[in-house]
Symmetry: C2
Subunit: 110 residues, 2 copies
């Protein structure tokens, strides 16, 4: 079976330190670390233990902060994200199955 890496382009590379993330988002380092504690973001770590974020993480952090400002609690946000993830996975699975069908029987539209 073939796994397609989700286009590891610039957006998903974990290369940004927390200080820069703080600048980019306007969030405090405290907030950023707390959202990780609540399992909402998952930065990489260097050997030394420093966090490294991707641009995708940066955008996610902004969304999280907006929701919290709207009174949504972190555990609710986590649930939303889990649901969204399931929907995405189901969609992926559907596409993959269809891809296998097409591979065997040829692609035909409609």
């Amino acid at each position: 079976m073939i796994i397609l890496a989700a286009d590891s382009s610039y957006k998903d590379k974990k290369v940004i330190t927390i200080g820069i993330v703080s600048e980019l988002t306007g969030l405090s380092e405290r907030q950023i670390r707390y959202y990780e504690e609540r399992k909402l973001v998952f930065p990489d770590r260097t050997k030394g233990g420093s966090r490294r974020y991707s641009f995708a993480d940066v955008e996610l952090l902004v969304e999280i902060a907006n929701k919290i400002e709207d009174g949504v609690q972190t555990f609710e946000i986590r649930q939303e994200m889990a649901k969204q993830k399931k929907r995405n996975e189901a969609e992926e699975h559907k596409k993959m199955i269809q891809g296998q069908i097409n591979a065997r029987f040829g692609i035909r539209k409609k």
Copy 2:
């Protein structure tokens, strides 16, 4: 006159520390700093004075290192880059002029 920002997307944002750049490129920090000393790359700086590179910088650094491996000297690389920059600017200028002509007299092909 309208200036088009060169699509400040992920690729050109200066957000990567020298340690990560070193990992991404395989170059030593010494090399990376030296290429800056020779005016080949221009990272941003934080208030504290730390360097911040973009993905575009990362790719440029790899190209630079390859040329040096081929025996090209840094001042030659700088000259090449200056020439390339002039060509690009001339091309930009041409497009801009054509854009103004099109704006006044309408766009017509051929």
